[in-house]
């Protein structure tokens, strides 16, 4: 979108005429009487009108001394708030005669028509909030609270010695489960996503019925999707496919600044820098920043670079390069081993809406929604966990997805991949799906009467062969595309 800087308002410009005068601000610089009269006292912050027999008249009299419109507005609203509080207290007085006297003395009744729940006249008024207690009252409350807490502590400390039986030594604490992201999340929501449709769209956004808002201002086209599927017995399929069948979740591993107000500039800049890098290199289809904003980086129908060396499968279908077959979603964060959930609440919610939307749009099987750490492999060394982002701690349950950490790793079971020291140094132990895959491999070797190492070597060779076929197929397609392009351009 081409957006030149908006000029200062000039009604002439709306008629398409060249401005007869240079652009001007609408403000005169000449000091007015109001500015010159500096000796006019201003309302002190927090000051309110005194309550007397006629509080509104008194309020108006005091307002005459305030020249600053915002100060005046503040003074009015604070005073009215005080009148309302007083009115509430007077209404609570016992006995009608007493209330009558109180109202006669304060005159606060006349301000009642001004007690409004909608002081801005909007259809959806803001919620009212009471002003904080004065500092002195807060200090008194704090001191009182300290005394109460100290007294309660002393009472509790003395109670067992004076009255209770001798305390038994506490039983050894049961081992607590390690705090993981999974444990810190909501219970799972229902199964399949609701119907999701595009509600609204604009030059730089799309809004969906599940509340998902996608910023499309960074979106670029990528290479066309083109991939093949393998089956355990049939090898590489003949059909060339171009629709996404799953999602791969990533972490950006980019610079992460503390979520504090003083870092606002850094927080903004780092996201923008990251988006620039991702767009330039066509990495991921979506990025979810730390405030839950969803950015489209590469168009969904195109291929993005995010999980090239990877293995995953479901329903007997195997994918040896997930770039073509999946949609990459990255969270702006660092995974940091997955001991704690590395994303913000806003990211979690946004990721959930985005996943629901993508699953609904492309009819993605939940079994094909996986994390990068679970699918990434080193093809040369035949190792799993080449990248480890989300190798632990992804909140599958909160996303209504099956726990992929329990699923037998296809790279281990079908292609004989293993892991190394570096893998263990980060994770401590492999995820359950790796152990399950190793067990399955062992039982298959036993069933066929072969040594497990021999089976593993055989499967690794299968992987190498299939990968070579896939690479050759991709190169052939690339050459054909280049030839077609040359022919089309007449070269």
């Amino acid at each position: 979108m081409w957006l030149p800087r908006a000029e200062p308002y000039n009604s002439r410009s709306e008629k398409g005429l060249p401005p007869a005068v240079p652009p001007r601000r609408t403000v005169a610089t000449r000091p007015s009487a109001a500015r010159v009269a500096r000796n006019v006292p201003k309302a002190k912050p927090g000051r309110v009108s005194r309550i007397g027999r006629r509080p509104l008249a008194a309020l108006e009299a005091e307002l005459r001394r305030i020249r600053d419109p915002v100060e005046k507005l503040r003074f009015i609203r604070r005073s009215l708030d005080r009148f309302e509080t007083l009115d509430e207290r007077l209404q609570a007085l016992p006995g009608a005669p007493l209330r009558w006297v109180a109202y006669r003395l304060t005159g606060v009744e006349e301000a009642r028509p001004l007690f409004s729940r909608n002081p801005w006249g909007a259809l959806d008024p803001p919620r009212r909030t009471r002003p904080p207690l004065p500092r002195r009252a807060r200090r008194t409350l704090n001191v009182a609270a300290v005394f109460v807490m100290a007294a309660a502590g002393l009472a509790l400390a003395s109670y067992p010695r004076a009255h209770g039986p001798e305390a038994k030594p506490p039983a050894a604490a049961a081992p607590q489960p390690r705090p993981t992201a999974q444990a810190a999340l909501d219970p799972p929501r229902g199964g399949t996503p609701e119907r999701i449709w595009l509600v609204d769209s604009g030059a730089a956004f799309e809004l969906y019925s599940n509340g998902l808002r996608i910023d499309t201002s960074w979106a670029v086209r990528g290479e066309a999707r083109r991939y093949r599927v393998f089956t355990k017995d049939g090898g590489m399929g003949t059909e060339v496919l171009d629709r996404p069948v799953g999602i791969v979740f990533h972490t950006s591993e980019s610079d992460i600044w503390p979520l504090e107000e003083s870092f606002n500039q850094k927080l903004r800049d780092s996201s923008q820098d990251l988006l620039r890098y991702l767009r330039r290199n066509q990495v991921y289809h979506y990025l979810i920043d730390r405030f839950g904003r969803v950015y489209r980086v590469v168009e969904e129908k195109d291929k993005a670079n995010h999980a090239g060396m990877s293995v995953w499968g479901a329903g007997g279908r195997l994918y040896l390069n997930l770039n073509g077959a999946t949609i990459g979603i990255s969270y702006e964060t660092r995974w940091e081993g997955g001991a704690a959930l590395p994303i913000t609440r806003a990211q979690l919610e946004a990721g959930r809406s985005l996943t629901d939307y993508l699953r609904h749009k492309w009819t993605l099987a939940p079994e094909m929604c996986v994390t990068h750490g679970l699918a990434s492999v080193n093809p040369r060394k035949h190792l799993i966990g080449h990248h480890l982002d989300w190798a632990r701690g992804f909140p599958f349950a909160a996303y209504s997805l099956p726990d992929q950490y329990q699923v037998a790793s296809p790279a281990v079971q079908l292609f004989g991949f293993s892991y190394d020291e570096r893998f263990l140094a980060v994770l401590g132990e492999p995820w359950p799906g790796v152990i399950a895959a190793q067990a399955a491999l062992a039982s298959e070797a036993t069933a066929s009467g072969q040594d497990i190492e021999a089976v593993r070597v055989e499967r690794v060779r299968t992987y190498d062969r299939w990968l070579a076929e896939l690479t050759k197929d991709a190169e052939t397609a690339e050459k054909a595309a280049a030839r077609d392009a040359r022919a089309a351009s007449g070269g």
Binding site: A6, R12, G16, L59, L73, R74, I76, A122, R293
Partner: protein, 354 residues
Amino acid sequence: MAENKDHLWKAPEESADKIEDLVKGGSHPVGIDVGTSKVVVSKRGGKDVACQAQLNAFIPVPYSPVTERTIQQQSDIHYYRDGDEIVIFGSATERFANMFNAEARRPMADGLLNPKEKQAWPVLEAILQSLVPKPRSSNEVLAFSVPAAAPGRESGLTYHEASLRQHFTSLGYKAMAINEGLAVIFAELEQHNFTGIGISCGGGMCNATLAFLSIPSIMVSLPKAGDFIDRSVGEAVGEHAQRVKVIKEEGFELSRAPKDKLEKALHIYYEDLIESLVDTLRKAISRAEKLPKSDRPLPIVLAGGTAKPKGFKELFERTLRSKPFPIEVAEVRVAADPFTATARGAYIAAMFEK
């Protein structure tokens, strides 16, 4: 001619000086008048407060690289590409409408998002984007004007208000909606302690608010305003509404006798509009069950582009006095800058909330 038009765009010096006092370092609140005909933004500009406006209209033209290059060469044209069309929006729209001899389209109608216009929201969003700066810090306050709910149109207003709030919130602002008439009161009736009647006569509708000490007591809207006059006059005299608008804005005066059929029709429909407005206000005040006591007559301020022609105030006064009015009126006056009054009032509300 330029000197004569100064009052149309220049904010009143006195108001500006008052607002100047509000501008404290480090805070950048924004006030916006989202009107059917124009979007006006009031925000900090250096040490002062400045108003900027865009026509709330657009026109799609067929895309071609040549057209796009031509547009890009002119710095004052806002556009975006939508498939095989270039959507030109904002103040350049009228120029292109004349060039292509086509009617400019409006994202809003009768004060709300135009439900019949498919491009309403994308265009309005683009217009807002061209005017509203990025917030410099979190929780920067932005106040935007909304009309009062006309009977039976509450759901439309809910959608309109929520859409705008969501948009501004997504930009990073703490967004708040303020009634249009109340914003006029904030901008113009500070000396009366924000007590009186503020009336905004825009393109799509007229909004009137009676407030006591800044608290709105009565808020009414009339889905009849500048567009109604243009349309009705156009039908009556067989002219294009757009042409009627141009004539109306180029020196038409209600204070002098009509010189042709078109001016006569303009007089008639202005009278009709003002009669409807005063009648609506009269009924609303009469129906009000409990109004705060006021021992002094109340002022009335008229704002908005439709209140601009000379003689509007006098016609309003005559209509007001033709029948008994339920409250005593001290004076009727036109806002010093009718175009920017609502935006300036919204800016004061934003300053209050910051």
